[in-house]
Symmetry: C2
């Protein structure tokens, strides 16, 4: 029994251990495989993320510079903090300078100015008001001061909060109102215990001013990013996108007709999709225009530059982009095998009209870039209108077979209708741009010669 159990044991133990070893090795190897998989997964994710982050910096190096600027401004504030024995501990008011730099420093000069001026003004107003109310509360006696302070906190905070719902105030003073409520409450509430209220308000204002000065100096001196210039460039970029989008969409439409829809969709290049950028840029335009008016005169832009007018150009461009969107959907319409004769009859006018629209938009983009009135744009618009009329005439004289198979020619006819509408909307964009370029901040172009040259060329052609 013992021997057999001993034998059994002898047999059992090695076999058990070998099984154990086997399972251990398989477990180990599977854990190792799992770890390897995890690491490679992690590595690929990290490298993907790193590439994305790198791309953000590489696409716009100003973003990297901005980060350095923030670091520098904060380092400057720290130096200021270390070297002044006046400021003791975090209880001291010097921390307001640090806080100001962190909160006020924005990517654009306009953003920093908006926040800085709002912060300084709101602190001053709220401090003075809180000081006045506090003085009144103390004068009124021991019982009523609680009520006066409490009521003033409640009423002023509520009213200030409500004023943020008024759009005109929201766009200009949103940040200022937050700071107003903050400062008023801090001073009114803390004043209950601290006697040196006036000193407190003074110190808070002083340190905030120091913070804002450091912030604005770094922001303006080292590679400044002006919101106004950004807006100006955005408008130019969008004008060019529209120009390319119109021309490419029509080219795509004429080229791809008859081929499969899927292919057509795949081939739609980034140029065709340019109008989508125009559709989505409303938010950027609004915010840039709001920040731009805080900026002083810089480069070619004066302090009173008509930034609000830029939004009108943006709206006109979106109006045009809606139509291009519809035009784009016409390309990908099914069952469009119009007779070749019809296609050939109209194609030449489509190409001509779209290239005229494109030319007009490029011309005003150039005139806008150089901030000079363009003298050739009127001529180009006239050409565009003439081509639109030619297209209408061509439609009236469609060959009989076209009208017979109306369903097959429907997309083509819709394209005509939309193109005519687009040319009218391009005129709308031109009108808005002319409205701005006629203002005193734009110079009249010395292009009479060019105009004559253009005419000469066109008559020769």
């Amino acid at each position: 029994m013992v021997a057999s159990s001993g034998f059994e044991l002898q047999v059992t133990v090695p076999s058990g251990s070998s099984v154990k070893l086997e399972t251990e090795t398989t477990l180990l190897s599977s854990v190792a495989a799992w770890m390897r998989c995890l690491i490679s997964n992690l590595r690929s994710k990290v490298s993907k993320f790193a590439r994305r982050v790198w791309k953000i910096g590489a696409d716009d190096p100003r973003k990297v510079i901005h980060c350095m600027k923030v670091g520098l401004a904060l380092a400057l504030v720290s130096v200021f903090y270390y070297t002044r024995p006046l400021y003791e501990g975090v209880g001291g008011t010097a921390m307001w300078a640090v806080m100001t730099v962190v909160v006020v420093f924005e990517f654009t000069v306009g953003g920093s100015l908006y926040k800085g001026l709002n912060r300084a003004t709101a602190t001053l107003c709220a401090g003075a008001l809180a000081f006045g109310i506090h003085w009144l509360a103390i004068k009124s006696g021991k019982t009523t001061d609680h009520i006066i302070l409490g009521a003033s906190v409640f009423v002023l905070s509520s009213v200030a909060t409500f004023s943020r719902f008024i759009p005109a105030i929201k766009t200009r003073f949103d940040y200022g109102i937050t700071i107003f409520i903050l400062t008023f409450n801090l001073v009114a509430v803390s004043g209950y215990r601290v006697e040196q209220l006036l000193t407190l308000v003074q110190w808070r204002f002083c340190t905030i001013t120091i913070g804002i000065s450091i912030c604005l100096t770094v922001c303006v001196v080292i590679r400044p990013v002006w919101a106004g210039e950004e807006l100006h460039n955005l408008i130019i970029c969008n004008l060019e996108r529209l120009a390319e989008s119109i021309a490419e969409t029509v080219a795509e439409c004429l080229k791809e007709e008859g081929s499969t829809t899927a292919e057509c969709k795949q081939k739609s290049t980034s140029k065709v999709q340019g109008y989508k950028g125009v559709l989505n840029s409303k938010a950027s335009e609004d915010s840039l225009a709001n920040l731009a008016r805080w900026e002083p005169s810089h480069g070619r832009f004066s302090f009173q530059h008509p930034w609000r007018q830029y939004l009108k150009i943006g709206a006109a461009m979106r109006h045009c982009a809606y139509c291009i969107e519809s035009l784009n959907s016409c390309i990908s319409m099914e069952n469009q095998q119009p007779p070749d004769s019809v296609k050939n009859h109209l194609a030449v006018f489509y190409t001509k009209l779209s290239s005229e629209c494109s030319k007009v938009l490029k011309e005003i983009a150039n005139s806008f870039r150089s901030m000079k009135r363009s003298s050739s744009v009127d001529y180009l618009v006239e050409e565009m209108k003439n081509t639109a009329e030619e297209l209408q005439t061509a439609l009236s004289s469609l060959p009989q077979e076209a009208t017979a198979v109306i369903m097959e020619t429907l997309p083509l006819i819709t394209v005509a209708s939309l193109l005519i509408e687009i040319s009218q909307r391009v005129e709308g964009v031109v009108d808005e741009v002319k409205g701005i370029t006629s203002l005193s901040c734009f110079k009249a172009a010395d292009r009479e010669k060019l105009k004559l040259q253009n005419k000469a060329i066109s008559t020769m052609a």
Copy 2:
């Protein structure tokens, strides 16, 4: 000479004084008139402004309640401040509670939660990190601690600022990063002088937590505004706007054709213009969806409600709205006197198709409102498709006179083409809505009966 001069004087003086008096009275009266004009101007401006402000409150009384809530939360913080002898002066950490309430309190619960959680987490992380680096700096000796602290301020601030440019981080943690930079700098810089760093970090975190608690309690308990519910309602509202816009635009188109364009434009009602609201609601949708995912389960919405999916519906609706915009421009096209026979031939299909589109959109709006899957929508979509096909057939069999005068019928044909496109885009909206309603958070409608009823009615008709 004297007499004469006296006479002269006598004459001169009164006449001079009377002239003076006259000019004085005219000056006085003109000043009075000017003052009256100024006062009446001022009064009209003030009353106009007051009416506008009143309208903001009357249109959405929740805004007024929000303001009261902010006032209440601040009053509560003040009470907390007064009753605790722990907090002395503005140097005390209690002011962080006041500051937290001012900065964190937002209109929606999601907004307050986003800011509150970001603030608390960022304070904790930055505090711990700053404490660690500070400890390291002190250990490293008198000369190197400056360098370590300065370098850490520069590097961490720069890196944190850069991370705000990464869209995924920006949408979720923008505010948190600001607070991270702020807290890190405050603790790292101030720590140079204050010995009780750990106490400082603890206190800051505690008071911020108290501020956030007061803030969230007031925000959630008293008439809460949920970002999720706002988004849900916005989507429903936009679906209904689209539905009305399509039906009314076509009605307007058929009614006004042949009459003057100016009149037509004037008569375009607010219902027709509903699509414009859809075009402009991208920014609201994005921000509401971002805030909604911070909200806990509330009402019919669970914590994991698919808010991001709502944005897809929004995009599909805008896709549809672009086309309605083009359709709208067709109405106001000039030279549209199509032969009556053509108009009558097509009008019935236009009305039918637009009302089918409208019905489909209203049905999914209802299904979305009740958060139940609609069983009749498939049937309605089928109807809509059939009508679109009928319209295509009707176009193929246009009377001969229509194809002969193609220019006059061009707008009518474009309308057909756009209507067919719109019906396809409505289908796109339906697909997106169905994608959401098929998720587990929506219930299957018990509408099989209704479906059968509908079919019975349609077969009878």
